[in-house]
Symmetry: C2
Subunit: 211 residues, 2 copies
């Protein structure tokens, strides 16, 4: 069986979604959809940055959604473990969901270590040109390890967590991310401003006067 | 390995999302998030209704997303086939994604046959009370078969599609859906008005004066 589902009927063709609809949606919302893909080591501050950026975007009336371990690993991807295949599938699905948000005109913020360059590039390839904004949340490993907000580095050093990114598994830093922030040398306010400016420069948000 | 991902750091606790955030998001958007789950036979008009309802909602400034075969089966669920297990997993994932949209304050419209009552009820259970609005898109089988927009009934009658809902596999109509529309006896305009009224009555959309 192919697709057990009809498309909108031909007499209703004026309702079909397409680029016009996307443009009018962007006009209505005052911004276009985008996927802000935060990548970085455990403890680098991805979740913190995503939450602060979302708050700033909401203040500006933008429509946002955060995808993170809390709402993905316990929901959509609850069937996945931590084998290499499952980790890849985890990132693939997150990428697909981010794209759905993006297509709906929402600014999706994702906060996952996503250590593999090839997997991030596959997510990028799902998106239309310009819709995928890779943000490298940079922070020295030793600083992340000192923060160790969940005690994961301690466990990894004790050999209790196999293949822990940065300790016993590689983190492949982005080669040409759209944006880079550094949570060790920059304040959270500086980072949020930098990201907002980056979104304006890329036409995701309206003109600077809006901000 | 458990969760290779820290939560927002404790010093940033004021940024945590929660019910307040959800309420303020609803205030900002002028409506709350919800999942409008359309269920019905192939050819009953789910996609047509979803697209017309979305247009009406967008006109009212609402934030919407349609999940349908086009953007799910070729994206997020491209790894799934049509075995009973895969069909169930298909619906499960759609339900999880709809909930993510709903949690982000978006009105998610889903258009899938979703013939199994138990599977729809599992999706309902993922949602907070009142967030899941099941809409039975009713239409007599013979009318759906006469429409046959994709020629699927013809193929099913010829034995070319195994387990086709309504022909060789059961459709379990909702027992107590939030809303029922009938695409055989009602016009699309009537249906859209009925659904908008239903969303207002349930507090998803603002007061009737808004509409």
């Amino acid at each position: 069986m192919k697709e057990n589902e009809p498309p909108p009927q031909s007499e209703n063709i004026t309702w079909h979604r397409g680029s016009v609809d996307r443009a009018s949606r962007a006009a209505l919302y005052g911004h276009r959809g985008a996927t802000i893909w935060l990548t970085g080591l455990s403890g680098s501050g991805k979740s913190t940055v995503s939450v602060a950026l979302e708050a700033a975007l909401l203040e500006r009336g933008a429509h946002t959604a955060i995808l993170d371990g809390d709402n993905i690993r316990h929901g959509l991807n609850r069937d996945l473990g931590f084998s290499p295949e499952d980790r890849a599938e985890n990132i693939r699905r997150i990428g697909e969901v981010a794209r759905l948000f993006c297509d709906a005109g929402v600014i999706a913020l994702t906060a996952f270590i996503s250590p593999a360059r090839a997997e991030r590039d596959r997510v990028r390839a799902l998106h239309a040109e310009g819709d995928f904004i890779e943000v490298f949340v940079d922070c020295p490993l030793e600083v992340c390890e000192a923060r160790d907000p969940k005690g994961l580095y301690k466990k990894a050093r004790a050999g209790l967590i196999p293949e822990f990114t940065g300790i016993s598994a590689p983190y492949e830093a982005p080669e040409s991310p759209e944006l880079v922030v550094n949570t060790h040398t920059q304040s959270l306010d500086e980072i949020v401003d930098l990201l907002l400016d980056g979104l304006k420069a890329r036409g995701v948000l309206g003109a600077p006067s809006e901000g």
